[in-house]
Chain length 205, copies 3
């Protein structure tokens, strides 16, 4: 039980969670861009490895939270922020895993567009977490994340509509509908992170 | 930061959220009842517009919550209530959006029945929120919402069983299974609102 | 309003929730093992009955929570624990219900393996809840539940990959993909229970 909190440790753990998301998101774009290579299995394994590191970070943060008496901000918000960051990473890994599980042979342009939105979201997350003590900047980043979520939702809608129009193979529809949905859900989770960050900086204002 | 809360503002925002749900639910029934008309696109757009207004109301409420020091009831319950009301509206919009995205050409009777359960749920929500300070009435409304959820679950089960029995087109099965599920999930979210309301009035008792 | 809490009542209700999960999980394995019998409808109905009892226990616990002033541990954790236990039971019932709704005629070996993982998880839950006041044991059980979730995720992945490889019938793919997902989600919910238990014992340490 630490009576005098080392605030910095919490911030450092959040920053490492965000950095992990950034790395996984970039690997996902690489995976999609070089899908014909022999690199698929390698990149999927690397993303899975990053996701495991993320689990360890989240666990470390939760253990620390449960043992710390005075926290840098609301206990519940620390828990929500760490969980929300972990959810983003889990979904990136879930997309990568499906590429192998579904034996996907070629990536659609729509999936590539969604992966780029995720990289963009991850970059904003990294900055927002790094500047958690600068309220006006955080609020601006949160607005950007909300816009990215809307953009991803629109792209997903177009992709799924096109899928139903063009595909005669129901099995392909099942696989790709889910891949688009998990890609879009990743940006939903980024927006969930934004909601927690917004609450944190507004309460501190 | 308001040290003396203007309670009324929170109640007013909840009432506007509930009224929005009522309006969207009635538009959904209209959409389903007049599906052969040229009115489909118009009604889907109107529901999307109501959903955007709902997002603004939720955002306004959250900003107010984060800046208010003393709240009319538990801070966390205010947050949960507003989110749960927003979730109901989001799902009504999600159903409407799928009618266009999936290029649905005719609405099934089961979907019409589920939409009517949603309108019924929305009417109860409006009353429950308006009478938030009359505990015994709220508890009665919450019980009604729990029954509506069970009814919707039963109707959804029948619809999906029938879909699997009668349809030879897997693409149709994929589309309609999801539409029934989102319709039913809307009543789940109404029951989530009821759970928050129940907690609020019991704590205040 | 009880000013002096009867702690024991909360613990008793959690134990009854866990016992219910154990019973439902064993019925699910029986259902899968004797699927050709005339016993399917009987067992599905029995599981539905257990799920209804679970709803009543959860409701009783929530009512008690809302009326109790001093609780044996964090109010919020009591709420989360009871909800998480209820979610486990709901998903066992959801799997059983789909066997009838989808007119499943034979159970796959993979589903049987997943059901056994659920029974194992339920047995650990029963012990963890019974020994809630012995922190070191609870933490060990939580680790076991995390491992079971990973195992279930791996089995589900294999089952779905095999389903896509071997099945030419998209309708079968839709049905079984969902059954595997709900089975795996049940172990996710067991891990959610573990997360709450971990927080409870660490805070009390």
């Amino acid at each position: 039980m630490e009576l005098i909190p080392r605030d910095e440790k919490f911030y450092e753990l959040f920053e490492r969670q965000a950095a992990n998301i950034g790395e996984a998101a970039r690997k996902l774009v690489e995976l999609f861009d070089h899908f014909d290579d022999h690199g698929v299995e390698k990149r999927v394994t690397e993303i899975k490895f990053i996701e495991h590191m993320g689990d360890q970070l989240t666990h470390e943060l939760m253990m620390k939270l449960n043992r710390t008496f005075i926290t840098p901000f609301d206990r519940e918000d620390i828990h929500s922020l760490s969980s929300a960051l972990d959810d983003v990473l889990d979904l990136i890994d879930a997309v990568a895993g499906r590429m192998v599980m579904y034996k996907v042979t070629a990536v659609t342009p729509g999936a590539g567009r969604l992966a780029r939105v995720i990289v963009h979201g991850a970059e904003i997350l990294v900055q927002a977490v790094a500047e958690l003590r600068k309220p006006e900047k955080v609020l601006e980043y949160c607005e950007q994340l909300a816009h990215l979520e809307e953009e991803a939702d629109r792209i997903k809608g177009e992709c799924i509509a096109r899928l139903f129009e063009n595909s005669n193979d129901p099995i392909e529809v099942i696989k790709w509908k889910e891949i688009y949905e998990v890609l879009e859900a990743t940006t939903d989770k980024c927006a969930d992170v934004a909601n927690v960050l917004e609450a944190v900086v507004l309460k501190a204002a």
